[in-house]
Amino acid sequence: MNKRSNTHRIVITPSPLFPKINFSEIWDEREVLYRFIWRDFKVRYKQTVLGYLWLVLQPLALMALYTLFFSYIARVPSEGIPYPIFLLSALIPWRFFSGSLSSGAGAIVGASGLLKRVYFPRLYLPISGVVSGVIDVMIGFLVLIGVMFYFHITPQLKILLVPALIVLLAGLSFASVLIIASLNAFFRDISRAIPIITQGWLYASPVVYPMSLVPESVRDLYALNPVVGILQSFRWATVGAADAPWSLLAYSTMATVVLLVVGVVMFRSFERNFVDVI
């Protein structure tokens, strides 16, 4: 029984071409959203021995692996910063973004049982996925700060910008989840293509290598990738690599806003047919 106590009068009609976001409903029913987030977090490490320790172990293990291959063997330069923290400063936000891409494909399709049987604001599904990611990213940055101290690098004051950057990254991730989830409900091709896209996107972003390695001639094209500005800003704010990448950041912010609008319109418009096709 899904009791909607605040909506005492419900009018059910076919929705308009571009349905608005029902903010008051999203706020009123927030306990459902809270339970979704709680569930995702609870379930994640069930039946594991190490449990929440994985939150710390995963970035550290990846750091060791990437450092071995890209720094020790491939000799990738890291702008004078120890490679492990150079890598982590971008790898942690990147993992949030790539994780959103892959979880986005399942956000609607994977919840078909629930969608077909209960009503709740459908936007909760993508929102809860992104919020789970944000928690990971925050813990990841605590790990990064720990590793920085290990390398005797003290974070500077600009590290206080990280929360704002996380908000921006979450916005971009949310936009991607909205677009991918909406399309994948109708075209399952999306979920097949996502691993390839994610892999390509990683190579097209300054995660394992510095942006200075990208040839001057293609750098403008390279910067069209909205993730570039965000990752460069993260790296700048934490390990203080180069000058502040303000223009890149401005572009990423604009792109995020545009993608958010596209994503929300798309999701709200396609939402009406989700249940009938999944």
Binding site: M1, I10, L17, V32, K116, V275
Partner: protein
């Protein structure tokens, strides 16, 4: 008069379903004049409707009704009549294609128990999760927690992950959360079809009490008993339209009537690609009208109508009709190949074949008739709906079968009805007026 709490105005819902093979697809010429609506469909995400291999299917059409506070309304109809679609629209799970509905009050909809249960979470955690999904506040769940656990009878497994629960335990837990909710309007879809009988009764009683407490209930069920005992009004849906809206007794009768009519003729969907196909199958009376029952003393004539589209002289076509009991065991098979004089269905056209079961061979019985086409004497089972068969009955117009059973007449329960004769061997023996066994006597006296 109580106030209106649900008002439904010409609600309609369209789905797109795949076209059958061989059905005509719209040509490209159709695209250009419809370009505008195509673009609009794209923007709305109506992707299934754009595909050229789909066609419209109206699950609901022009459905209007009103429900007043405190009413319990049953929605009945055959499978696919649109009952669940209607409840899904009223619960806002899917939206209507056109029309409007107003609902005044907090709605609780229970389309399936335990929706959103997570296997990895414990029973306790799932109570919180499911409760929230069903619209309970955290505080409410806490207040009712003990009551939920007690009602569910899962006690010591409360902190066991749900994946270790038996299906019965899951259902009990799901129900216990559901019956502890407190909505003003309750939408129920066939939820009492599961679980063990005792627990089902417990839930049903609980629900019955709630109805008495002036809650408004919309109830979809296939159990006519439940409908009659729970509701005070009944809506009958037939192919997406309301065909009856009124008192439950009449509604249930109306529903049973529809269900019976549908059983009388087994219709096979068109399969234009096939060289030959079954069209219809029914039991017929002397005038060729479909009937559902015939006296067991009279011949039962099963008519199979079929079409031949391509000539097939090298693979002779035949018809096989099997008579089964309700358990699916074959009692008799009639084949057109066995007829004296070869049947010839080689030229394209429409044909019929009558399988005739003579009277007084079988006892009164409910039978399932299974028709099939055969090629070189081998039955071809490639028809959709083939599995369903046609339900027909041989009845005894004289006596009720159950009365015979009471009288210890075991033979009347067996499938075959042999005859018997008797007579006196001495000169002075009484001459029997009739020379058959008592069951047959009653028949011969009153044909």
């Amino acid at each position: 008069m109580e106030e209106l709490v649900i008002k439904v105005e010409s609600l309609a819902k369209r789905f797109f379903i795949p076209r059958q093979k061989g059905e005509k697809n719209p040509s490209l010429k159709w695209v250009l004049p419809n370009l505008f609506s195509l673009v609009k469909q794209l923007a709305r995400g109506d992707f299934p409707g754009i595909g050229f291999n789909t066609k419209e299917f109206w699950a609901l059409r022009d459905v209007s009704f009103e429900v007043r506070r405190g009413e319990a309304v049953g929605i009945i109809g055959r499978n696919g009549a649109g009952k669940s679609t209607l409840l899904k629209i009223l619960s806002r799970i899917t939206e209507p294609t056109s029309g409007k509905a107003f609902i005044q009050g907090r709605v609780g909809s229970l389309l399936q128990v335990g929706a959103g249960f997570h296997n990895e979470l414990t029973g306790r955690e799932n109570i919180y999760l499911n409760g929230a999904i069903l619209g309970m506040r955290n505080q409410e769940i806490q207040n009712r927690f003990d009551e939920i656990v007690e009602f569910s009878e899962i006690g010591q497994f409360l902190d066991t992950p749900l994946k270790h629960y038996s299906s019965g335990m899951r259902i009990r837990l799901g129900f216990s959360i559901a019956v502890n909710l407190d909505p003003e309007i309750l939408l129920l879809d066939e939820v009492f079809a599961v679980g063990d009988a005792a627990f089902r009764q417990k839930c049903f009683d609980r629900l019955n009490n709630e109805v008495l407490h002036g809650r408004t209930v919309l109830f979809v069920s296939h159990s006519m008993e439940q409908v009659k005992s729970l509701v005070n009004r009944c809506i009958v849906l037939e192919n997406g339209r309301i065909t009856f809206n009124g008192d439950p007794q009449t509604g249930v009768e109306k529903y049973l009537e529809i269900a019976a009519l549908q059983r009388k003729v087994l219709e096979f969907p068109l399969q234009p690609g096939r060289a030959a196909q079954l069209d219809r199958c029914y039991m017929t009376d002397e005038d060729g009208r479909p009937i559902e029952a015939t006296p067991f003393t009279r011949p039962a004539r099963i008519r199979v109508e079929f079409s031949v589209r391509k000539s097939n002289s090298d693979a002779p076509l035949g018809v096989v009709v099997g008579f089964c009991n309700e358990a699916g065991q074959f009692l008799a098979v009639v084949s057109s190949d066995d007829l004296p004089g070869q049947s010839d269905f080689s030229r394209p056209g429409r044909y019929y074949f009558d399988a005739i079961l003579p009277g007084l061979i079988l006892n009164p019985i409910n039978m399932i008739v299974r028709p099939a086409l055969s090629v070189k004497g081998k039955a071809v089972h490639n028809h959709p709906r083939m599995g369903q068969g046609l339900g027909v009955s041989l009845i005894d117009p004289e006596t009720d079968l159950s009365e015979r059973r009471k009288g210890g007449r075991q033979s009347a329960l067996l499938a075959v009805q042999p005859l018997g004769e008797w007579g006196g061997l001495n000169e002075d023996s009484p001459n029997p007026e009739s020379n058959s066994n008592p069951a047959a006597t009653s028949i011969f006296v009153k044909p």
